[in-house]
Symmetry: D2
Subunit: 177 residues, 4 copies
Amino acid sequence: MKYSLDSAKVAEATREWLRKRNVRTEEIAELVMFLQNQYIPDLTLADCKESVERVLEKREVQNAILTGIQLDILCERGELFAPLQEMVKNDEGLYGVDEILAMSIVNIYGTIGYTNFGYIDKLKPGILERLNDKNDGYIHTFLDDIVGAIAAAASSRIAHTRTAVLPPRDEAESPAP
Amino acid sequence: MKYSLDSAKVAEATREWLRKRNVRTEEIAELVMFLQNQYIPDLTLADCKESVERVLEKREVQNAILTGIQLDILCERGELFAPLQEMVKNDEGLYGVDEILAMSIVNIYGTIGYTNFGYIDKLKPGILERLNDKNDGYIHTFLDDIVGAIAAAASSRIAHTRTAVLPPRDEAESPAP
Amino acid sequence: MKYSLDSAKVAEATREWLRKRNVRTEEIAELVMFLQNQYIPDLTLADCKESVERVLEKREVQNAILTGIQLDILCERGELFAPLQEMVKNDEGLYGVDEILAMSIVNIYGTIGYTNFGYIDKLKPGILERLNDKNDGYIHTFLDDIVGAIAAAASSRIAHTRTAVLPPRDEAESPAP
Amino acid sequence: MKYSLDSAKVAEATREWLRKRNVRTEEIAELVMFLQNQYIPDLTLADCKESVERVLEKREVQNAILTGIQLDILCERGELFAPLQEMVKNDEGLYGVDEILAMSIVNIYGTIGYTNFGYIDKLKPGILERLNDKNDGYIHTFLDDIVGAIAAAASSRIAHTRTAVLPPRDEAESPAP
């Protein structure tokens, strides 16, 4: 039987796996708010959530999420081979494949998201603190970075969108479509 | 005076500078056709051109194009400082900033475009052969790679779009691009 | 017990897993030769093999290899969850995580390797043809791209090294250390 | 006349241009210290400076530095074409070419540097605050990010090196950076 692409199934699986791993869209939206509210005073949590939803529709983002969660789960079960098992389990400092997957998400909305990703990845606000907790039985070595990357991407998306819809500034011409 | 973003002006400048450098959308569309027609038999040049136009609407793509063309032009005039002038003029093998700008374009549509970029960058079909000609007085060290990247990005975009418009999943076995 | 980094174990596991997956350093060296011999007439297969060995010593390269082979093997056993299992099994066109891991290898030696990676990933010479064979029971969705990336990185490494050791050209000053 | 690569000249020009732009290696070393001293208690400023020096020897790093400083200087003189001139002058939020060049530096030492780059790019400690000052007549839109990237790369380099010189594995529990 010929392989048949099924992008709807990939989108649905992504949503379901995020839920199973206790990641709610609202919490990612709160990271976006954390990153953006000083720049956009009238930004609402609903705006942020909407932006996160749009990011989650991208196939590359779904691919990274599914692959990352799969590796986290296999590690929880102790099913990765050595020494990959130990590196992922301990979120080893020299193991950067989690950051690689994260950056593939950020890149979709351009390089302006790099700074935001690094910033929340270091500070670990909100949900990132919970995901980064090494003592709750879960392994979130990949998901931790991926959630930060989704928030950074959603922030970049807002920056692009806001520019497009901003009313003309008094000193300049009209905005771009 | 406060700086005011003007995305319409950036888009317009991009279009104009591509024209001044003799790069026509049709020629980039032909590169897309070269890359994709064996996978999508019913693909038309109009489809390819449409995809190139969508890629050119992206701000990151416009930023890379303007920056690259600016460096090419300054080099033509001999206005870069040494040894940058010589490196850009000779498209030096160890100078990879042109490839860096190119990949920032490809990345917008995901990593599936890497292969296509490398392939046409090596083969130099169509317009790429002309841009790569070192004896016509023009310097296209940056534009050469950028045009290849736009074609690779437009190809990735078609791959994503074609999948999205496939018949409903329950009809199954819909062919993958 | 505190986690203890053990880079020697990671290096050793990488070498062993490449062997178990039937990838010999000589074969990667042949890809390097394929990419470079037209530019460096006196390049030997031993030079190429030496360069591949140096690339394989890099921790980031080892991380990507181990992670990629792990995913390939889990897929062979049917142990990835749906729809990731199907995407990896079929090397799906819209699944680009294999390319992401590959580029993390190429990047270590700079962006000048992008073109070479894309070129051999498209042409599939030598070992790449074998790895890409879908009918031998093996899944090499990740390893295929990773081996191409190692060859591209080793080629970039040679370009950097040769420049450093080239004798002075008759028309110019001395080479760099 | 055939073009002759001269890597010594590129290295020398990089060093000279950093000096002309008032960036001292010690100041970048202080950024490295800021990023690393909580993880490596016995780290000295001399260690950090040594690591920065090694990063500055890499050709890709030199290429990014020279290209970035060139664009900054042309912008100071008002010699970039519109609207690139305005975008670079104002370090426009949607213009991410400076981040692209920065990441090409970070990538050389692997993806583990992404977080550090984003973190100091947001906090702007030490020299980064000075470079980011918009009122001193200088334009450092590119150099700002490049200096942060060099510090992040030098930090990654230290992480890799420290691991390599740790006591033999059988003594166990050696602390990971």
